[in-house]
């Protein structure tokens, strides 16, 4: 869409060329450079997302706790009193919370980011900036909530006397993979939503089904082996299971499945970004 090059005698004057949309590696590089120029917007808008929540509601930041904790309490009541679900020897509350924490990060990223372009039509039709910033800020805000809600996990671990091991450091790459995947989903869904508003209705349902297709409220070990090959196609399985493995069981993650999830996430992120940037050129015309 636009390029920057220095003109010999006029170092300050940038030349931008705007042409019909095309797919090329050079364009991808230019797009990424443009995103770099707008990093202050990414920062300001992300801080804004977090701030607005504090200002608008009475409970403000407490919602970062309330959401995962209430789900944990509900699932704990249902699955340890009403219908018994094995939790591999650890108390069910901490078993489910360890998985709900990264899941909530993913699901609130995707749920909020999907409508981000359509809900900011007034920006999109009025001002130019790299549009991917809008969905990305929701992912960053959800990551912030994740960090806040992690303190509850720390409290639960102390209460139930679960000891951390060195393997807990794997949380960092696991969250990085999860962030790539959440960002990829967010870019893909938000760009598609501009043309097909059905996406906005479908996403909450999709996330609900997805929750049950991921080992969150039940252990991976209770999934029958004959279904595993299909079940494992869901990248969230490896991500959530690895998270639980390194935090709760203090053991090594399954390197092979985690690597596969990483490859899938990175490739999906790349494709989503290219798709997003291609649609971006006409977004303002149809939003």
């Amino acid at each position: 869409m636009s390029t920057s090059e220095t003109i010999g005698n006029e170092p300050a004057a940038r030349l931008s060329i705007i042409t019909a949309p095309s797919l090329s590696a050079a364009k991808l590089v230019r797009d990424l450079a443009k995103l770099g120029q707008y990093r202050d917007l990414l920062y300001t808008l992300s801080v804004h997302r977090i701030k607005v929540r504090y200002k608008q509601s009475v409970l403000g930041g407490l919602w970062a706790f309330i959401q995962p904790v209430s789900l944990m309490l509900m699932f704990t009541f249902i699955f340890s009193y009403v219908a018994r679900i094995p939790s591999e020897g650890v108390p069910y509350a901490i078993f489910v919370y360890t998985a709900l924490l990264p899941w909530n990060y993913f699901s609130s990223s995707v749920a909020n980011a999907t409508g981000s372009l359509v809900n900011h039509a007034q920006f999109v039709t009025k001002v130019y900036f790299p549009r991917e910033i809008l969905p990305a800020t929701y992912v960053i805000a959800a990551l912030f909530d994740f960090v806040v809600a992690s303190t509850i996990l720390a409290g639960l671990m102390m209460y139930y006397q679960v000891r951390l091991t060195i393997y807990a450091l794997y949380v960092v790459p696991i969250i990085l993979i999860l962030t790539c995947f959440a960002l990829a989903m967010s870019l893909f869904l938000s760009a598609t939503q501009v043309r097909f508003r059905d996406i906005g209705v479908a996403v909450p349902l999709l996330l609900q089904l997805w929750l049950f297709a991921t080992p969150i409220i039940y252990p991976l070990s209770s999934v029958p082996l004959r279904f595993r090959s299909i079940y494992n196609l869901n990248p969230m399985v490896a991500i959530i299971e690895s998270f639980r493995q390194v935090v709760l069981r203090g053991a090594e993650p399954d390197y092979w499945s985690l690597t596969m999830a990483a490859i899938v996430s990175v490739v999906f992120l790349f494709l989503s970004y290219v798709y997003f940037k291609h649609l971006e050129t006409t977004m303002a015309d149809i939003i």
Binding site: M1, I18, A20, Q56, V127, Y128, D285
Partner: protein
């Protein structure tokens, strides 16, 4: 040195239409068919080429729908051309009013950071300019209050003040002079003049012919997506005025319209108190509007109306025959005159739209509706607030009225 070049630029929009012929009962089937490509192509711009030299101020004028705002959107990179190339040398910013992006719960200061970065400023730049932005906007101590407590004037002024601090090489202006009260408009004009004197290249898209004339050296007149005339501003404006006066959609336009409505608006003409046809008025001045209709089939209980829309498309006021006697239309030509003793609209350009509908139908359910004229309201009776209210005054004795 050339600052900006449009090189054979065309822009195509796809207009998605529901399939007319094989209309199925199920709307889902229709929608899926529409996806398959029931779209019409519409060329908003056709092969436009022009250049703007550094330090030059270029005006772009034309009727609504001529393609002016498409040019702005392309320049501002909100959308991309379908063909051709645009070359921009230097930093380009638009002086647009961004308060619609304000978040009501955040303070003025927080919103300045948010909107400033949306417009491409860095946090450091905003920090350095914050005092100046606050001063320009005149919101003073309110800068640390949530903007939901602002008056609508403060809201607009703050939004505008941010955009006024962008320091671009090329400045895009779009009907900016319609924002705020007279004092604030004067401030904006001063800021634009300052930027101009500093050698900023300016592209100004407007209906406000007076403003274009005072600001621009050279002007393009866009008609139906093409450059109709370009040259010295004075000459182009008179060509535009000729175009406006000839604007009555004639028999040709009727022949072109595919569907045949029961009645059509043929023309809308504005007359001043001397009875001469013009588009230039002032607040407080008398005006009469003649709507020329061609009735094809009898219409029982018709209502003829005239709408005054702002350049942003907001309806400001309307004239209507709805309140008076019932009119039944018989086939043939017809002329309806509205007379207005005092124009209460503020200084701005308005798009005058005529409509004909049946009484009892909702607004929107028109038999015909046409953009007919442009009304330029100039400075007349002072407007402080939103509109002028006709009023008289006299001094009474302190003891009360004496007989």
């Amino acid at each position: 040195m050339v600052n900006l070049t449009f090189d054979r630029v065309s822009k195509k929009y796809k207009i998605y239409t529901e399939p007319q012929e094989q209309k199925s009962r199920s709307s889902l089937v229709n929608k899926l068919r529409a996806l398959r490509g029931h779209s019409r192509e519409f060329w908003a711009l056709k092969d436009i080429s022009f250049t703007v030299e550094r330090g030059e101020a270029l005006g772009i004028i034309g009727l609504n729908g001529a393609g002016k705002s498409t040019i702005l959107k392309l320049l501002y990179n909100i959308t991309t051309p379908s063909k051709g190339e645009i070359r921009i040398r230097g930093k380009l910013s638009a002086l647009i009013e961004v308060s619609s992006g304000f978040h009501p719960e955040l303070t003025g200061r927080e919103n300045v950071y948010l909107n400033g970065s949306l417009l491409g400023m860095t946090r450091r730049e905003i920090r350095n300019k914050l005092d100046s932005i606050v001063e320009f906007s005149g919101v003073g101590a309110f800068i640390d209050s949530p903007v939901k407590r602002y008056s609508s004037g403060m809201y607009l002024r703050l939004g505008f003040a941010i955009a006024a601090h962008l320091d671009p090489d090329i400045l895009l202006l779009d009907e900016v002079l319609a924002v705020g009260d007279a004092a604030f408009q004067a401030k904006c004009i001063k800021r634009i003049a300052q930027l101009r004197n500093e050698g900023t290249t300016i592209v100004f898209v407007s209906h406000n012919l007076g403003a274009v004339e005072s600001l621009c050296d050279r002007t393009l007149l866009i008609k139906e997506g093409q450059i109709y005339k370009s040259g010295a501003t004075r000459d182009v404006i008179s060509a535009y005025e000729d175009l406006l006066l000839r604007l009555s959609p004639t028999a040709r336009a009727m022949a072109e319209s595919s569907a045949s409505p029961a009645a059509e608006i043929v023309s809308i003409n504005l007359f001043n108190s001397q009875g001469s046809r013009t588009t230039m008025f002032a607040t407080g001045e008398a005006m009469s509007i003649q709507v020329e209709l061609m009735v094809h089939r009898p219409i029982k209980d018709a209502v003829v109306e005239v709408y005054f829309n702002s350049v942003f498309g907001n309806l400001h006021t309307h004239f209507s025959t709805e309140t008076g006697n019932r009119i039944d239309l018989e086939p043939g030509p017809m002329l309806v005159e509205f007379s207005c003793p005092e124009i209460t609209l503020e200084v701005a350009a308005f798009d005058v739209e005529g409509s004909i509908r049946q009484r009892g139908t909702s607004i929107g359910d028109f038999i015909d509706r046409k953009h007919g004229a442009v009304l330029n309201v100039g400075r007349g009776k002072p407007v402080h607030g939103v509109f002028y209210t006709p009023h008289e005054w006299k001094v009474l004795n302190r003891d009360g009225p004496s007989c």
